[in-house]
């Protein structure tokens, strides 16, 4: 379940495509939008014209999402394209990801806000290293459901045997990575078999079409049932000079904490722990996005909290449930995915950002690297280069409050920033 997507009402599904280069991800999304009549006339005309310009006889459906000049020149996806569409059953946001190894971090970007990933496999060539890497990363970044789409069935004569062989391999792979409920289906993105309608050639396959599957796929709302966590983004200090006209506030000095309910729920009168510091305070008032005082605030709500007394609270502070405090330490282990061209340098410090909290961090050691081919973990010759995934030990400058990512995706996740280049060089999940 996504965090940068508070949109987790059952009506809306956020999903992505993943899988190796050229396995048909963009074509699949194009086909689905086309067949479900989710393309506007002018978009279709433009794609027809672009296909013709490139000397193609038929419309190239991948051009619907491959919108950049460089993508069209090279016939590949470089960065994720977001599309918004709807059927009578629900609304969708799809992120069409690139398969290319070089752009793996862009797939991770898309996956980090998705409820579900469709992992494509070319029926003719089967599971590849990049398929494994994507699957591993999709799980690591927190996507709760995967669907395997065995594509290009037209190239293998719609053979049930070919499909079943690949399906078995996928299920085994997904199990070993940590997925429990796994679904798969055969499709032909190019011809439209089993996308919005079954077609005769896959009549041996039982189960829903791709679109039917997506219309019924569950979304998880696990953060709501976790202990209360609130991340302070900004301290608002009201005085006579800085009050909006007609706000109903008269201008007495007042301090409020603007931020996001990362998990759980809080009510007026609740006692909370403030980290850092460990002080206890009571929630005096909650100002909702509605600009009215409300009795409670739930996960994913942006609100302003007022406490019963003035404490030393600044940006990056956390308010948490008194009965379920967070862990606090300046040393911990995390599973890291490295994004940057420049490899991890153990002699340097990086900037770590967790929710709205930033601190310097040193990476003390690379403990293990994951071999995505075998899923084995190795601990010799360790270095972390672009697209490497592995376990590291970190030491932060100031103590960090966190939950393990497995328990709470909101408080257990971070990014690393190179303070010289300002690039986002890695993302991590705390163990």
């Amino acid at each position: 379940m996504p965090m940068n997507n508070p949109i987790n009402v059952s009506g809306l599904l956020r999903f992505i495509t993943a899988g190796s280069v050229d396995d048909g991800k963009s074509t699949l999304i194009g086909r689905m939008l086309y067949d479900s009549k989710n393309l506007q006339v002018d978009q279709l005309t433009a794609v027809e014209a672009s296909s013709k310009k490139r000397g193609m006889k038929e419309v190239d459906l991948s051009l619907i999402t491959d919108g950049l000049l460089a993508e069209r020149e090279q016939g590949i996806t470089i960065d994720v394209a977001y599309r918004y569409f709807a059927t009578p059953a629900r609304k969708f946001i799809v992120g069409d990801s690139p398969g290319h190894l070089q752009y793996t971090r862009n797939m991770v970007t898309a996956a980090s806000s998705a409820d579900l990933a469709i992992v494509l496999i070319d029926a003719e060539s089967g599971v590849k290293t990049q398929t494994r890497r994507h699957l591993y990363l999709v799980h690591w970044v927190g996507v709760s459901h995967v669907l395997f789409a065995v594509n290009k069935m037209d190239k293998v004569g719609f053979s049930e045997d070919v499909y079943q062989k690949i399906e078995r391999e996928c299920v085994e792979l997904a199990h070993s990575i940590g997925y429990s409920k796994i679904h798969s289906m055969p499709v032909s993105a190019l011809d439209g078999d089993n996308i919005t309608s079954r077609g005769d050639r896959l009549s041996w396959h039982e189960g829903p079409t791709l679109l039917e599957y997506l219309e019924q796929a569950p979304t998880v709302q696990d953060l709501l049932h976790l202990p209360f966590r609130f991340s302070v983004q900004r301290v608002m200090r009201l005085n006579r000079q800085n009050i909006q006209v007609n706000s109903g506030f008269d201008g007495a000095d007042l301090r409020g904490y603007q931020g996001l309910v990362v998990s759980g729920e809080v009510r007026v009168g609740d006692e909370v722990i403030i980290s850092p510091g460990g002080h206890r305070a009571q929630i005096n008032s909650i100002l909702g996005a509605s600009r009215r005082l409300v009795d409670s605030a739930l996960t994913q709500e942006s609100v302003t909290l007022f406490l019963d007394q003035d404490y030393d609270v600044s940006r990056g502070a956390l308010f948490t449930d008194v009965n379920n405090p967070m862990l606090s330490s300046n040393e911990f282990n995390a599973e890291l995915c490295w994004f940057d061209e420049a490899p991890l340098d153990l002699s340097r410090t990086y900037l770590m950002k967790q929710m709205s909290n930033a601190t310097r961090v040193r990476l003390k050691a690379i403990n293990e690297l994951v071999n995505v081919e075998t899923l084995e973990r190795t601990s010799d010759h360790l270095s972390m280069c672009m697209n490497d995934i592995g376990q590291v030990s970190l030491k932060t400058q100031t103590a960090l409050s966190f939950d393990s990512f497995k328990r709470n995706r909101g408080t257990g996740a971070f990014i690393l920033i190179d303070e010289v280049s300002n690039r986002t060089v890695a993302a991590g999940t705390i163990e």
Binding site: I7, L68, Y82, R105, T109, I243, S302, S356
Partner: protein
């Protein structure tokens, strides 16, 4: 210290249903607060159009009851409908906001912008005026109302989008943007564009305008206007775009789906006088917002991407 709050201590029960719009709103507020907390001198690009009206509304909510910790910036093409400028000034006055206007016309008069011909559409030249204004005021971030559903290059853009010291966007080398943790760091001279309503569709925007009763310029609703029909688009007849010889002028009921440079923004035929009616039309339309209205995007396959690479919004 909580005297004020206690005075208005009539708590409402929080809403029991969390809608799609609540989620989009909360995401946008979170993004706006990150900008305000981490950036030194944010500007909110305010054109008087519906998307910027929505972003401004979200900002007023995000910091409520505090005044906006940011400056409004209008890059004025001087090719505007008067209703839009009046609306802009009305909103600024009502909310007591800080507005900076920098005009493409001024850039032309100073020789910073050279038109290829008199009356040329000024949309793309906004880039030069914008980059000059950013430098003049030292804005490190510009908040914009662009949406990913508008256009295929926009569909690729991050919520926090980086521009180098020449204002350029490099779509092949965007920073990863993982979960909702935003990297807002830039070097001196570089700039961020932040798009809090990236994930909103045209329909979401109208539903939100309806729910929040957000005021808009009158030209978003049906009105009578002289137009010339060219390539299926309704080209308005104005002092900047007079009818040419042989043009057949028709007086029609129209509304604008988007407002921009008069010389390249077309209205659509519509009798929608209310938001309810606009919502119905939006749900049924067969043409995208830009496809129905933008004369300048249809010149080449990658018009928007090329403009963005040069520093456009």
């Amino acid at each position: 210290m909580s005297a004020v709050i206690e005075k208005i201590e009539i708590y409402e029960k929080n809403k029991t249903t969390w809608t799609h719009l609540d989620a989009l709103e909360s995401e946008a507020i979170h993004i706006l607060r990150e900008v305000a907390a981490e950036c030194n001198n944010p500007a909110l690009l305010f054109s008087g159009g519906k998307d910027s009206a929505v972003v401004l509304h979200l900002a007023l909510k995000a910091f409520f009851p505090e005044t906006l910790p940011l400056t409004l910036l209008h890059i004025d093409t001087e090719h505007n409908y008067q209703e839009v400028l009046d609306f802009r000034d009305r909103v600024v006055k009502r909310n007591n906001l800080k507005l900076v206007v920098r005009s493409v016309g001024e850039s032309i008069r100073q020789g910073r912008v050279r038109l290829r011909y008199e009356g040329e559409p000024r949309n793309k030249y906004q880039t030069i005026t914008l980059l000059d204004a950013i430098r003049e005021h030292n804005f490190d971030v510009c908040i914009g109302g662009a949406r990913r559903d508008e256009e295929k290059a926009r569909a690729k853009e991050r919520i926090f989008s980086f521009r180098d010291e020449f204002g350029q966007w490099d779509p092949k080398n965007q920073r990863p943007e993982i979960w909702n943790i935003y990297n807002t760091r830039v070097a001196d001279g570089e700039n961020i564009r932040t798009f809090p309503i990236s994930n909103w569709t045209e329909l979401d925007v109208w539903e939100y305008i309806q729910r929040e009763e957000i005021e808009l310029p009158e030209i978003y609703f049906t009105h009578q206007r002289d137009v010339v029909i060219k390539n299926n688009l309704l080209v308005p007849v104005t002092s900047l775009t007079p009818a040419k010889e042989g043009d057949e002028i028709s007086r029609m009921s129209v509304r604008f789906r988007t407002v921009g440079d008069i010389t390249c923004t077309a209205p659509v035929a519509s009798t929608a006088a209310t938001i309810e009616a606009i919502l119905l039309e939006t749900a049924q339309t067969q043409v995208t917002e830009r496809g129905a209205t933008r004369l300048d995007d249809q010149t080449s396959e990658a018009a928007m991407e090329l403009r963005k690479k040069e520093g456009y919004f």
